[in-house]
């Protein structure tokens, strides 16, 4: 089944895309919880509107991009997909976790 081989590809792509989406702040939308408003892409609310939430937008950014790659994998020649090592599905998230720990280390050293 084509879609079955797309699943591991999605899981390899998602963490590798989530990291830059978060690091470079590339949300598909921004949610402003104080006013319950959604804004397309990156939106920095004025001070009185409270903080903007980008997390949901990062999830959708990485999800859409990973789904597009997985879809391409579903229609790619089977031989090409078989060349992708299955171990990447756990190496990719572990590598991203290591990068996240480094990025977030500032919170723990203040």
């Amino acid at each position: 089944m084509r879609w079955m081989r797309a699943l591991p590809v999605f899981s390899i792509a998602f963490p590798l895309l989530y990291l830059p989406a978060m690091y470079f702040n590339l949300p598909v939308f921004t949610y402003v919880p104080k006013t319950h408003e959604f804004h397309a892409f990156l939106f920095q609310p004025a001070g009185k509107l409270g903080p903007g939430m980008f997390y949901y937008g990062w999830l959708v950014t990485a999800g859409i991009a990973a789904a597009a790659i997985a879809l391409a994998a579903a229609y790619a020649p089977e031989k090409a997909i078989q060349r992708i090592p299955a171990s990447l599905v756990w190496i990719a998230p572990l590598a991203v976790i290591a990068a996240l720990l480094d990025i977030l280390s500032d919170w723990f050293t203040r």
Binding site: L7, Y18, P33
Partner: protein, 151 residues
Amino acid sequence: MVLYLLVHMLLAVALLGAVTHQALGVLAPVRRPAGVFFTRFRAVNGTGYVNAIVVLYLLTASLGLIIYPNYRLGARVVMEQLHMYARVGSFELKEHLIALGLGILPAYWWAWQPAQKDHAMTRRFLTVILGGIVWYAFLTGHVLNNTQGIT
């Protein structure tokens, strides 16, 4: 919102139990059935947990996403004012790990399908990573809720 938080926690407990059973089952599989509690704990058929874990993870994460704005506007602001930066950072890590968990769920489900018997190591790693994410998220959420009620 209190109800959401309560259901979120209850689902997290169920998820924690299921994924711990499965993770220990793949890390230290039982060769012979025995009567000791720890051995019985590991002696589960991991395949039977897969769909439940996927559904529980999605439900728990969805409720967490609904509750999250309350944390962002309330608890986080207070913790930053009190200079509890390590706790804020712990929650930042939690949200990113949950996102990564959502990303690896498809591969996790795929790796546990009967057709993927050859991918035992992949299955083992994905299960342990997912278990680690669930444990970290559970403990962090619990500690932070004790620090400053999310609601």
